[in-house]
Symmetry: C2
């Protein structure tokens, strides 16, 4: 053994030295306690997993096609799965979707990582929403992007703010590469991009010659029946890297998601993926393909939407009853999240330990704000607990935050 | 739609612009023809996959623990799997192995990508073997490493050449960060690092204050009974990022591998993985854990070793009979590969199309040599075809290369 201590930090790359912990996942791992109601984890309810169907499918694909599904597979994914996803995306209005534009990714997080690595040189600028998804922020950070936050209101990203900031950055000689957006039922805010702003956003991308990274994991989870949001990729496919996922509508433990991009970029994404992990789990891809083909995913959607709508309503009802004075919150039309904004000056991070001791957990909003703001915000997920526990969780939270007390009623 | 064409290339990062295709995988996708004997794909034989056992395990883990194995999982992997792998590594002589040093990766390729990203700033130097594994070369390339090749002989990497080159690079002010090595039954050469050189290699890492990235997917596939190679990580755990895989001893379609590194680096690898894909397929990890716990992997090893030894011998026999004059080849003691070196001046790439037309495929060696050499070498994999087809493949190859003709005998 060497005499000197090894200075690992000096051996690291700039990326290696500056890695950020993911505030959500850090928190999730701290939460072993059964008596804590989790409004923290943005995970689907395990109640929604079709266990029997997936157990059958897994055994069947291994027995009938094991020589393929247990073997190395093509980096981009099997042609049959690429075709099934292209068809599905055509159903979302993305008329240009085709296997040549689709690449399977090992979860949408890999799509975010690949898009960031393909586009960003150190110091390049990415425009992100205030607040934005931590996983996307981390991927851009790891590519050493400078992130500039754009204001959001109830209608999503504020186009005037976006345009003004891009114009100013360009004037200052900065390379602005992309806008990262979650247009539907955003994580963490629950907000959706208003219809008229979708056209305005892609027009801005045209004008400023930018790409849009459109992260759309909640597309299928609009509460209102028949509502199908319009992807930005449907409006301007040549400007959009579209990321989709099966985590919320099937099961996140299968790490098979996809991106759809202009062919030139899909080809690059495939090459980047080859270096990143050769291919996504071939078994997971085979299971997802069967779930798509058999209609398992499609037929469960109405039920899933109701499932999460009931939980969202339970949380909203509880907020109306218990929320502390001066608090405001978003009213999502789908997805998993509500953003709670406390009165100015309050600090959601400071009371987290107290909240966990009181039996309720949430994710403080600040890490979702790349401008350092949001200290008085909380991300509340209604996806994982029962309606009764959600109400009880909000009541507990309210006590910690000094809200109206109705303990007897819960 | 915008009037102008979009110049995607100008939007890319330097990494995105310079992506290299993987010569192996490119070739594999070209090979649809049933009548072509593939000495190209370095994949395990599908005959070795325990289909029934894995189908049972998959269905069982979903039915009995679906709420966990279909849910998001911890980035580093489940504690139970980290413990099982740490125990296995102790059995390889890596006494320091512990769950705090292990990180599950989505295939060893992700381990290579993460190690490269953690260590390399653009222009940093990585020392690699001549030849080396293309997947490792691509990962280092994507991190924008400058790779410097080190000579190999029958005893593996030549330590004097390594030391001389590192010394010269440092004198020139270059930051040399790591040595990337595959010490056992190397891909593509089949060569193993001699015992005495293992101590010399880790001593050089100490002296030059470098890390070693030790890629060891073939550890369990020594042909001789009872042979257990000594990992570099067993000699100097504080200097080594050790990468292991289940692809060759269970099934590569499950993308669950692992790295073992000093704690400070394992922590960084976990954070990097969080940004790269959140976690490896939770289902794949659960299946691998069951395969480890039940002894499925361990009990099949003697049979697997014989399986590949028989194939290696068949190829070596055929080479002795058919190889063209002036050709030399390696004689592996395990693993999947033989490197064939033609007489100087011959070009393995130039005759590939002709070979495929003649019904045999291989991977030209040049892409494995970062110094641009190796034009007269071929990587021959004996892992995928039957002994009879291997002999026939070498006979076909021989005809193309102008070797001795014994067509009637095959």
């Amino acid at each position: 053994m060497p005499d000197r201590e090894i200075a690992y930090d000096e051996m690291l790359s700039a990326m290696g030295r500056d890695l950020l912990p993911n505030a959500i996942r850090k928190l999730t791992t701290l939460l072993g306690r059964r008596d804590v109601i989790s409004l923290a984890a943005g995970a689907p309810s395990a109640e929604t997993f079709p266990l029997e169907e997936l157990a059958d499918i897994a055994a069947r694909v291994i027995r009938s096609r094991g020589q393929f599904v247990l073997q190395y597979g093509p980096t981009r994914g099997p042609q049959s799965l690429l075709e099934a996803i292209a068809d599905m995306l055509k159903g979302r209005g993305i008329a240009s979707a085709a296997p040549s534009r689709v690449v399977i990714t090992s979860g949408s997080q890999q799509g975010l990582d690949i898009a960031s690595r393909l586009l960003i040189d150190p110091g390049d600028v990415a425009m992100v929403e205030l607040p934005s998804y931590i996983g996307g922020i981390i991927a851009l950070h790891n590519a050493r992007a400078e992130m500039v936050g754009v204001r959001q209101d109830e209608g999503g990203i504020v186009i005037a703010d976006l345009r003004e900031k891009i114009a100013r950055l360009r004037k200052a000689g900065r390379r602005v590469k992309c806008v990262y957006t979650i247009p539907n039922f955003q994580n963490p805010s629950g907000v959706s991009l208003a219809i008229e702003r979708r056209e305005q956003l892609v027009a801005a991308a045209d004008e400023f010659d930018l790409l849009i990274v459109e992260d759309d994991p909640y597309f299928d989870l609009a509460f209102a029946e028949g509502v199908r949001p319009q992807p930005l990729a449907a409006l301007r496919p040549d400007r959009v890297i579209y990321l989709g996922s099966f985590s919320k509508v099937l099961a996140p433990g299968l790490r098979a998601a996809y991106l759809c991009a202009p062919e030139a970029l899909a080809t690059k994404a495939e090459l980047a993926k080859e270096g990143a992990d050769l291919s996504t789990s071939v078994l997971d891809q085979a299971i997802v393909l069967e779930a798509l083909r058999s209609g398992l995913i499609e037929k469960r959607l109405p039920e899933l939407r109701r499932f999460y709508e009931v939980r969202c309503r339970a949380m909203l009802d509880a907020l109306r009853r218990f929320a502390p004075a001066g608090a405001r919150w978003t009213e999502p039309a789908g997805g998993f999240f509500i953003l709670l904004e406390l009165a100015a000056g309050q600090d959601a991070n400071a009371v987290l330990t107290q909240a966990i001791d009181a039996g309720v957990a949430y994710v403080p909003g600040q890490p979702f704000f790349v401008d350092g703001g949001g200290a008085n915000t909380l991300r509340l997920a209604y996806s994982k607990e029962t309606p009764e526990k959600l109400a009880e969780g909000i009541a507990r939270l309210s006590r910690v935050l000094g809200g109206r007390e109705h303990a007897g009623a819960v």
